[in-house]
Amino acid sequence: MARGDEAGEIETPMPETTLATAAETVTLVIDGQSVTVPKGTLLIEAARQAGIEIPSYCYYPNLSLQGACRMCLVSIAKMPKLQTACTTIVSEGMTVHTQTPEVANARKAMLEFELTNHPLDCPVCDKGGECELQDAVFRYGAAETRFMEAKLHHEEKRFSNLVYYDWPRCILCYRCIRICDEGMDVNALGIAFRGARSEIIPNREDHLECEECGMCIDICPVGALTSGTYRYKARPWELSYTGTICNHCGDGCKTTLGVRNNEIIRANNRDHSGINGEFLCVKGRFGWDFVNSRQRLTVPLVRRNGHQEQSTWQEALSLTHKTLRAIGEKYGADSIAVIGSNRTTNEENYLLQRLARTLLGTNNIDHHRTADYSSLVSALTEARATDRYATMDDLSAAASVLLIGNDPTHQHPLAAYQIRQAVRLRGARLYVVNSAEIKLAVRQASVFVKVRAGGEADLVGSLADQRPVPPGLVLNGADKLGALAERLAKESDTIIVFGDELRGAAIGDLVRWGLTLPGRPRFMALGDYANSRGAADMGLLPGTLPGYRAVADPEARARYEAVWGAPVPAGEGRHIRAILDAAQSGEIKALVVFGSNPVKTFQLPEGALSRLAFLVVSELFPTETTACADVVLPAASFAEKSGTVTNTSGQLQWMRRPARGFDVPDSALGPVPTRAEPILNTMRRTGTRSDLEILLALAREFGARWPYRSAEDVLREIIASVPGYAVALPPLLMGRAVATQAEGTPPPLERPDLVFTSRDSLFTSGTVSRFSWALNSVEESKQPHGHIF
């Protein structure tokens, strides 16, 4: 059923559980067991809560009800026929039997029907071993078949390079259509033909035009929808699974990497663990393939006679140390600068700034800031409201969301999903202020205020100071802002989400005004990459120590000097634009870059870094910046190391190094680099080292005795000494997201153009996405930025 249009949505019956308040309860008896559940609960869920399994295919929590697969037929007292547990709402005193011979026969019959046209190609089917049909036949089905007729067959179809459809295997549960329509709001799939010949088709008839998120693949109970990158590659039980954190955008989705023979074969979140539940976007599900790229840097490079030549780790690190020390001694510590990354772990960032401040003796350290977290922290601290950070979980439970700037559908797919869930399942209201007609504004917003490009800050200023709106600011009707303010004044607990359009003083305005809204308004800043937030939190900033403590504050310096046993320079360092300017003017002689590509990001002219006496870059791939480097250090990717990252909403998560998934001996992967991390049977890219290992090795070259052997050791120090990071370690290591509570009064934003988003689309992710086959293989990646699917 084409459920995309609004008329269809009105009639779509939704489980009432999502709407009912939990106050009233109903008690019923299932298989002799008394069960008490909230009023409005579906029978299938009530049974689940009692530990009684009722099989089903078409039923899927939070999607509209189908009553199509008939697997969940149960016997209810006083009902003449068997009833579907997925569409029955429990009532007081209801007596249900799920194990009678009649029910068992019905299940057996349904499975017999399912298998009539279903090929028994389980030995070569991707889903074999994790197929819900296979499992159900094993548990409830008949041992033999009575079906003697010819099976219907169609050839497999390629919907896109990432999504394939094998019609005969399809049991038509319509989960794919519903997750695409209701969950993703993309509506790319529909049904053609009818009866036993019904088939799932893209609504563009022969190809997909969608976000390519692959949700349809993972939600498919059988092997009908298969992944373009995983199909026919492995048996699911051959893979080792490790839940880690996606390294692309700043939302912090859990992605479970399936690894075999030291190679990532697939990623998904089938166990629904993590803050994202079942959700993953195209990057989280397919975009990891850069890790396997053959273009990865795997040998340290050292420039000799103008040419980068292959070298050894020992030579590269020793040369780096010697050159930096020499330049520091000759030109002073201020002639050296450090640029950090938005993707490296908190532990790596913490060590990088420690290296800069204590070993290089400079506060010339910065990174590409994609959101102004500092200003948010300082505004909330000033307002004594540091309990008002909203998390990704809060977002999906919100009653009201105000989104200012950004295009989460492209830049923050999980945030967009959480907002859509809140609107669809909980009737939340979304208010959007944006200069573009972004999809959330078009599809979900109750009020959309369209402002002129860059007008978001002016608008917030008007709201905060109750100034009249400057003429020409609001483009879609002068009364829109009034309507917005009026509606927001009636909401409670609004979550205010904003992008890089608000920075510096505008965030101060926003917090000042936002806190006057009713209830417990909360805030979330949206920044680009996996650890943008962590980079700021860990003090990759010229004026800010870890935990938003000002470098200028003697107390703060003393605090870290005590921890590190070394002096911290007092003066504020240069920010990244000043560093790059000084590099071009020759004031900066040596530049240390970790996991960043400033030449591209800041669009430096050709030869801009040629006046540097020394440039060392730690990277995964050859980039515009590594091309200028004197020393290039091949770094390990997110899938080859452990450590924590902080998502854009401040949730701290453990990025876990995946198991190797097949007993490859260490000797086959080359010499073991250091003792820094337990590497036994974990993913390793021969020749590379994690930034943590590199930093520890460099520190050793400098003669420093840092007391860390692993990321965990560094994390313990962070927990003990960085304000806002005093979290409990065990839940973190077990894979839970733990909210941090940043507070502090960092120096104000030096200049507005230090904060800007990369405006990545669903299919780009800075430098690394250039090396992803999957992200570049889909036609949709060629659409202009902001395209609405």
Binding site: M1, E11, Q66, M110, F113, G195
Partner: protein, 439 residues
């Protein structure tokens, strides 16, 4: 179009209530309709008020003529009174049940009677908009209905402030695209909304959540055509035409091996045997009666020995079949019951919408099995398998289409098992061999 007359010839045993204008010259025009009591019931309805109309229809014993036989007035009373949503009345003109052809002449010969019935129903439930959903294959009826609707608008029976009653009512036609499933009321509503014709999960029922999520009553053409007559005659007089729980008359469609096939309006409870012999003139060619399907292809078949039965809902149910849609299909002694069942299952396999598993896979399985069986490739297990497949469909589907496919399968195999055995023994269809032998 010449053969239409054959079923309008009628029989002296008929009681003409809703077919009384059949055969009149220009019977579709509003003038003829007005000359023959037209739109009088509407005026009466406005005098009575909605509640009285509903109770009058309830008391008349009128039961849905689409097949399920639910009390029409009762159905109307389920529409919530205190809702702010608009309400709709939808006429189900998706007549698709094999053997059924009664709604067609009603619309073809007397469209105003239907329109009046719809307006009264709309008035009773508080709807301001009605739709006539016509099956795709009846597209030509659109002209007749649209012309009649335009006439009604012209004379003030549709539109604003009808007959100065203060009641506004709009009516429009809509065609399906040729799907049996769209005769199921919730699938019809989806189709009417422009969605695929899939049935909806019930409850909620359309009376509460129907078209565009609003309270909606879906009634069959014949059901609505009875409404003006009920108001004109009064509930009691109308009810007396039939039996105590089955008010009024009913159109029966005699088809198959019958001398005078046609659509006949007979009192509810009319004896089936008499219907075949006296109304239809018996089985032609001096052949013996073998079987009768009493209410359209989805109803369990009756053996010749069972046909001495009153044609009302309860009596037919008592002998294990259904009154259904009034499509009486008569089969003589030369009919191959395997082939007859195959034909029926071909229909259901073709028409299964594909929404739910037992119907989607089961009907295709039955069709393929019976085809193979009839072609001589049967195995000893096949009749039992087909029976079991039918039972596995029965009562387990989302909408009644599954039951419609299962019931014939069960009854044909149970009552005519010996014919299946003969096919097995011969390795071919005995009836086709016999036919060859004769020529």
């Amino acid at each position: 179009m010449g053969d239409y007359e054959s079923y309008m010839k009628g029989s002296p045993l008929e009681v003409k209530v809703i077919t009384k204008r059949f055969g009149l010259a220009n019977s579709t025009s509003i003038d003829v309709y007005l000359e023959t009591d037209g739109y009088q019931a509407l005026a009466k309805a406005f005098e009575m008020g909605p509640a009285a109309v509903i109770s009058e229809v309830k008391n008349s014993g009128l039961r849905g003529r689409g097949g399920a036989g639910f009390n029409t007035g009762m159905k109307w009373s389920f529409v919530p009174k205190d809702t702010s949503k608009p309400k709709y009345i939808v006429c189900n003109a998706d007549e698709s049940e094999p053997g059924t052809c009664k709604d067609r002449p009603l619309m073809e010969s007397d469209p105003h009677q239907l329109i009046e019935g719809i307006i009264i129903a709309g008035f009773a439930i508080g709807a301001r908009q009605g739709y006539i959903y016509i099956r795709g294959e009846y597209r030509y009826l659109l002209d007749i209905l649209d012309r009649a609707i335009a006439e009604a608008y012209g004379r003030g029976y549709l539109g604003r402030n009808i007959l100065n009653s203060g009641f506004d009512f709009e009516l429009a036609t809509h065609t399906g695209a040729g799907a049996y499933e769209c005769g199921e009321e919730t699938a019809l509503l989806n189709s009417l909304e422009g969605l695929r014709g899939y049935p909806r999960v019930k409850p909620p029922f359309p009376a509460v959540v129907g078209l565009y999520g609003c309270p909606t009553i879906v009634n069959n053409v014949e059901t609505l055509c009875n409404v003006p007559a009920i108001l004109r005659m009064g509930a009691e007089a109308y009810a007396r035409l039939g039996t105590p729980k089955n008010g009024g008359t009913r159109l029966f469609c005699l088809s198959g091996h019958i001398r005078r096939p046609g659509v006949y309006e007979l009192p509810m409870g009319f004896n089936l045997k008499r219907m075949i012999e006296e109304v239809g003139g018996g089985v032609p060619g001096g052949k013996a009666l073998k079987a009768v399907i009493p209410g359209g292809s989805s109803c369990p078949v009756l053996a010749a020995s069972e046909v001495d039965v009153a044609m009302d809902f309860e009596s037919v149910a008592r002998i294990g079949s259904m009154l259904g849609s009034g499509g009486v299909i008569i089969m003589d002694e030369d009919t191959c019951m395997v082939k007859a069942l195959l034909r029926i299952e071909k229909f259901y396999a073709h028409e299964s919408c594909g929404w739910c598993i037992p119907c989607r896979e089961g009907t295709a399985w039955l069709k393929n099995l019976l085809q193979r069986f009839h072609d001589g490739g049967g195995t000893e297990q096949d009749p039992d398998t087909a029976l079991d497949v039918s039972f596995n469909i029965l009562g387990k589907t989302l909408c009644p289409l599954g039951d419609a496919a299962a019931l014939p399968g069960i009854s044909f195999i149970q009552k005519f098992r010996h014919e299946f055995e003969e096919h097995l023994k011969l390795g071919a269809c005995p009836f086709e061999r016999r036919a060859v032998a004769v020529t």
